[in-house]
Amino acid sequence: MELSLLELLALLGVPAFLGCMLLCALGIRARTDRLAYPGWAWMAGALGIAGLETVRLLLGMESPVPVVGLGLVLAAGLGWRARARPTRTEETEEEVPGGRLESWGFGLVLVLVFALLAHRMLSSSLTAIVADDEANFWSLRAKYLYDAHSFGGSYAQALAQRSFNNANYPLLNSLLQLWTFDCAGRITHMANRIPIQLCSVALVLCTASALRRASRPWIAAVLLILLVTCAPIEAGIRRANADVLVAFAGLVAADAWRRGRRSPDLAWVGLASLAMAFLFWSKREGVLLGLCGALAIATVAWRRGTLARPRPPRAALPWIALPFAVLLGTIAHNLWFHARGSHELDPAILADVAARLGDDLPLVLRFLGDAFVRPSLNGIPAAFFALALLAHRARTGALAFVPLACLLFVLALIVALVRGNTEYLLKTACMRVLSQLVPLQLLWLAAVARELLAPAQDPDAHRLPREARSPGLG
């Protein structure tokens, strides 16, 4: 092992404690959802520890102990203050009932999937981080931060000399790896994958819980299998890349939105805000996905005439501010250091997009068409878009925004691919970016499947009031 037991305990225990306290402040406890809770706690804790690391770097402190110690005390105080707050329990939505055999089957699949995740984590721990994106910028940036103990020194010098690619990417991944270096007291070459890999585990936990609430156990089990056998998702747990962070946060945000739709109380608004902050801090595609999701939600609400309601509680406002703070922080960092990425959006190229469309669009569309049905994505995008087009049920319920959000995301992806370096981006990045939508698409498919496979309705059902006919998707 690269870490001692004590170092490993600090690496996992501090974010876990922070996460539990943050969730406690929102009124979310383990009994709210026993399956998703560890995943939510890891997400909140990872955000917390990355925030504390940022403060420590801004202060230029060599050791993170004072800031992290203070953060732990503050988090404990927050949790203690909120102890009297009633626990948010799942009032609006229970798991969809299934037979005993079905439920056992789902449990068995869950065990199998976790065995698989453990195997993949162990297998990746045999290889040092020396190649690909995980080494060339995520891990390298963490090394510079560890070396500089601040945003100045060798870190600022490396940015000025363009010592690593995509310097304008958000910092969450690198800050989590920096936390590993801090726990170890040195630069590690394998263990710094652990906090990122745990986001994959959290993704599976949260997806399993969301799928179980959206559909019958056997459908949830099959969709969970499809998730973990997706090639880019598999690669996500083997490497310390940020694509899995986007997929994870996107899923949690949509799930929190779905749960809180009927009663937008502090718990779900707070959880959705944490997920959005995580999304914005993970990768630039995270910002794109967040914007597409917000636009799609607003469009659906406008069509339904529900744009102005429901309003979140006043206590949720600081939590809602969090994603914007993260976004502003990233923009400020990039402006301060003149940080540029390898795939910059050049306005001159954008002006030329119409001309490029003629050249590259057929290539991009052919690739996307092939990717949608390719076994490496298990044909999930194809099934998703086909059902979104054909199933009437797709346009109802809390998740009705998902097809529009995914469509906007894919359109933005096409523009990004067409604007230059097309063949290289198709070969190296396109499948990974598409995989960021997979958990969201699976959740939506589960909700549609529940409606699609429900027993036929009474022929007179159309005479009943809309609310009484169907609970709607999700």
Binding site: L116, H119, A131, L226, A391
Partner: protein, 175 residues
């Protein structure tokens, strides 16, 4: 569900055609779910067959062993002798102080530069640079520079006043 899928009720009226469409969609969805689900279980089964070997290896290898294994894989991919890259990593870490730059000299080709990509990740905060002088005869390296030279260095003018620190198959580290 079976009553829904296999109802004998024929869709004779226009009002029932959406129901037929729904059944067709449901059948297609189930077929896709079954097909990909079975394939997924098969893939998981095949992957889990590797569990004993991975656990055995994980139990046996130390952190250094894992790094050596990674570099040995990189050697194999770049068609270099076994232990080549690890020996460079060890030499740089041993002889070059942190935050110093190591300049590459007489790199045979671009393939070799690509093969050396894993090295700086394991020697951080020492930096391996190939950009200061492309042709050795053009530019003098600043005094005190560490040089990682490849091939026959006996005629290399730039190494005349340097001390040999370490050497391997076709490389040598100078200061």
């Amino acid at each position: 569900m079976s009553s829904f899928l296999f109802s004998t009720h024929s869709p004779s009226s226009p009002a029932e055609s959406p129901r037929l469409g729904r059944r067709v969609l449901a059948l297609l969805f189930l077929a896709w779910l079954t097909w990909t689900g079975v394939a997924g279980v098969g893939a998981i089964g095949r992957e889990l067959q590797g569990v004993p070997a991975v656990w055995r290896m994980a139990g046996a290898l130390t952190a250094e062993g894992r790094i050596a294994r990674t570099m040995s894989t990189s050697d194999r991919i770049a068609k270099l002798p076994s232990g080549y890259l690890l020996s460079i990593v060890k030499a740089v870490n041993e002889f070059v102080p942190p935050h110093e730059d190591v300049q590459l000299l007489q790199v045979p080709d671009r393939k070799r530069i690509r093969a050396l990509v894993p090295v700086p990740h394991l020697t951080f905060p020492r930096r391996i640079r190939a950009d200061l002088f492309r042709k050795s005869e053009d530019v003098e390296p600043p005094p005190g520079t560490y040089l990682l030279a490849f091939g026959d260095t006996s005629q290399e003018r730039l190494l005349a006043n340097k001390t040999l620190l370490a050497s391997g198959a076709d490389w040598s580290l100078w200061h």
